[in-house]
């Protein structure tokens, strides 16, 4: 026997001023199954909730409709309220008579009539609701951090400090990431390595952190609390348990002149190498594509001979390691745009046109020039450098509409460093707008202009071309409304920050969404900025969008807090409004499978009685750990065997019937 109670809220006068709440309650009393209806000033307040609970007991209600504000506001509140009174929380429906009625229609009879219709729809729906139970999911209390840059390092340290095990998977030989490549940081001009390396050492030594460097994610299975991740540990040719990182091998390796990607190909490294002197782990790897041993059938072996601990093992192979994790933090960072679509700037054509990251290596004391700024073409000290902002950013026409956020500041910093190191050099900055939102940022920019005499030109650069032994940078000064041409020894392009080239492929492996620029999507831009749309996967750093170091670190700590929050629970509660299969009706056509964004639908073999026989057949089944309750499968299903609990066909049709009456 269905016994429905209807509770109409006045919301002070928010509803009552334009809706005759008494009339709505009265009309509700005539609806099928409704045995009780009342109104109250504030249904969401304590006395209101008590009123509902009392009525449930007094009138033996087993279903409830609350006509109040949007379900986005108080659906949870009222679900909890009915649950406390012993009614399954999913036997409560909200009729949205505030946002979608009283606030948008001022004619009282009109508003009242519509409110009554909305209540009737909610009553019709709730009559077809069935009790739903949230499932409980176990949690594997180990976290995976993908990427060992500053975001990954910070997240790993925070999680490990809370007492949970963390694995960092880093593609390169060492953790450190982009921050290790930088020289100084804005706006304090403190040395990037000096603040990063202690943290790297902490991760390296932490008993709860395992670093899988020179490794990549092969595949991710499972769901929140229960991911099964396969990690490819690329063959290093060096036994990490034996190696002491003494450096004999890389100092003696005869292949010396390989481009060092850590130095943005501006410097060299041997075939057996660590990325940089402070590398963590301090265990080298052999670059097999360039090592003489591998290229010439076992010749050379110098590293093997000089290694005092016999750590070199040429026979090592890639290993696939399967591990279970409860949560994943994505911290895969960024790369700078190749700017191939901008041939007019000549990056890649003229050696003295470089990106900001190249410039960092040229100005860094650990870089190929030991901190002396020299231009790549002939090693000459530049006397005039042009910095080009928004190089590839904020250019919808060529595919990137977004602002890369850090460039205004780092270019100001680079201009300052240039003026400090070569006081007679001129620094020109072409810009569209200068964006210095951040503590002490505007002041820093003003110092660049006023103290360091950096010349800011507002306008885009149209062309860079060589002339004699220098480059000519032509553009427009939009403040003067005139074309300008500046002679430069070097051009530094603040190339757009973009996700790693394989970000989309990785996102597909992990099962998270990404935007058109391939930045990973957060669950909500304001209120859930470090969670992805997939339960148990969190985001930190530039893989989610361009940001500077302090923001990255803050986001990494926030992601870590989310992981720790998850791990602190005994079990996870799964959503109750999920898809389920009526196996008797399912014919196993699997039209539902391709539409599921979460790969939650799998085949399942069932046994069925057919007359006297038992037969086996394959039907769809829903993994409730993966399903997020979108209902696309229910529409793809031709027979209606797939149902979305909470929004079943019966419920929606009943609502449609009711609103049309």
């Amino acid at each position: 026997m269905k016994r429905i109670g209807v509770f109409v809220c006045h919301c002070g006068t928010n509803i009552a001023a334009t809706v005759d709440v008494e009339k709505v309650a009265e009309s509700a009393r005539h609806l099928p199954h409704v045995v009780f209806a009342t109104t109250y000033k504030f249904m969401c307040a304590d006395p209101g909730q008590k009123l509902i609970a009392d009525a449930i007991r007094e009138h033996a209600l087993n279903r409830v409709v609350v006509a109040a504000c949007s379900p986005h506001m108080h659906e949870r509140t009222f679900r909890k309220a009915v649950e406390r009174a012993g009614v399954n929380p999913y036997l409560m429906e909200v009729a949205n008579v505030r946002e979608q009625c009283s606030w948008v229609h001022r004619d009282k009879p009109v508003g009242t009539e519509k409110a009554a219709a909305l209540v009737a729809a909610a009553v019709a729906k709730v009559a077809r609701n069935v009790p739903l139970e949230s499932g409980k999911l176990p949690v594997e209390r180990r976290a995976l951090v993908v990427g060992g840059g500053i975001a990954g390092i910070q997240a790993a340290l925070d999680i490990a400090e809370s007492g949970y095990h963390v694995t960092i998977v880093e593609r390169e030989q060492s953790v450190g990431g982009r921050m290790a490549q930088l020289d100084k940081t804005f706006p304090t001009l403190d040395c990037s390595s000096c603040i990063l390396t202690p943290k790297m050492v902490d991760v390296g030594h932490h008993p709860m952190i395992e670093i899988c460097s020179y490794s990549e994610i092969e595949s991710v299975e499972g769901y929140v609390g229960n991911f099964e991740v396969t990690i490819r540990r690329k063959a290093t040719s060096v036994d990490p348990d034996v190696c002491t990182g003494c450096g004999e091998c890389w100092n003696r390796c005869p292949v010396k002149k390989l481009p060092s990607s850590f130095n943005m190909d501006l410097g060299h490294r041997p075939a057996i190498y660590v990325d940089f002197p402070q590398a963590i782990p301090n265990v080298p790897v052999i670059d097999r594509a360039n090592c003489t041993y591998y290229l010439r059938d076992g010749k050379c072996r110098v590293c093997e001979k000089v290694c005092p601990t016999k750590a070199i093992d040429f026979t090592l192979e890639d290993r696939l390691v399967k591990e279970r994790f409860g949560a994943i933090v994505m911290a895969t960072g960024f790369q700078t745009a190749s700017l191939q679509q901008y041939p007019e700037w000549g990056l890649g054509t003229y050696p003295d046109v470089v990106t900001g990251l190249h410039f960092e290596r040229l100005v860094s004391s650990t870089g190929p020039t030991e901190g002396k700024i020299k231009r790549p073409s002939d090693g000459k000290e530049p006397k005039s450098v042009v910095f080009v902002l928004c190089a590839g950013s904020r250019d919808e026409a060529r595919g990137r509409s977004y602002c890369s956020k850090a460039c205004c500041m780092y270019s100001a910093k680079q201009a300052i460093l240039l003026r400090e190191k070569i006081p007679q050099a001129q620094a020109h900055v072409f810009y569209m707008d200068i964006r210095t939102a951040g503590k002490d940022y505007e002041e820093f920019y003003m110092r660049a202009k006023e103290e360091y005499g950096v010349n800011y030109i507002r306008g885009r650069v149209a062309k860079v071309y060589p002339e004699k032994d220098h480059l000519v940078v032509r553009g427009e000064d939009t403040l003067l409304g005139r074309p300008v041409a500046v002679e430069a020894d070097m051009v530094v392009l603040a190339a757009a920050i973009e996700p790693r080239a394989d970000a989309a492929a990785l996102a597909q492996k992990v099962g998270i969404s990404y935007n058109r620029d391939h930045f990973f999507s957060e669950a909500h831009p304001k209120l859930r900025p470090v969670e992805s749309n997939t339960g148990g996967v969190f985001l930190a750093g530039c893989c989610q969008g361009p940001k500077d170091i302090p923001e990255t670190v803050a986001q990494a700590s926030a992601a870590a807090a989310k992981v720790v929050q998850m791990f602190s629970k005994d079990a996870l509660v799964s959503e109750a409004q999920l898809a389920s299969v009526n196996e008797a009706w399912c014919i196993g056509c699997f039209l539902c499978q391709p539409v599921c964004p979460y790969k939650a639908i799998q085949p399942k073999e069932i046994e069925e009685r057919r007359g006297r026989d038992k037969i086996k057949r394959t039907v769809s089944s829903v993994n409730t750990g993966l399903c997020q309750g979108c209902g696309a499968c229910a529409v793809a299903c031709p027979s209606g065997a797939m149902r979305l609990n909470g929004f079943t066909d019966e419920q929606i049709l009943a609502e449609v019937d009711a609103v049309c009456l």
């Binding site: 919301c11 006068t13 304590d46 986005h72 946002e99 948008v104 009879p109 964004p597 979108c630 209902g631």
Partner: protein, 171 residues
Amino acid sequence: MPVNESAAAEAEMMTEAEMTTDGASGAGADAGTGTWEPRIVAFCCNWCSYAGADLAGTSRKQYPANIRIVRVPCSGRINPQYILRAFQRGADGVMVAGCHPGDCHYTTGNYYTRRRFSVVQRFLEYVGLHPDRFSGHWISGSEGEKFVQTAREFTEKVRSLGPNEKMRDVL
């Protein structure tokens, strides 16, 4: 429990001029005056379009009361048969609204909506439904104004067509 009393105060502070806009009456045959009002069903996805309608409410933007919203988690949940059912039961116009392509809360649901309803829309037209009686819209959670505009325009269009008889149960 927190209650929203300031919103009430706000509502009371509105000027007369604002109060006079869009005083459309409720849908259906009005018993008092006998004038016909179109009845419109809008299927809105929970995360974008329903939130957009909520925003129209919190911004106190007025639109005709003819629109009645049915909430679904995702526009991908909208079965074309729901549209038929609405017309059967007396709707004069039906709207389907979801997140903009690329912004779906569930990543891809609205791409299926787009495919499905491109076909269904043409087909409904083909079997003799007036094309102006069914429409699809992308309305985000921040587009309260777009929701209002859409509601107004659609209502007016349907109003000008008069009551729908196609597919209708009882006339």
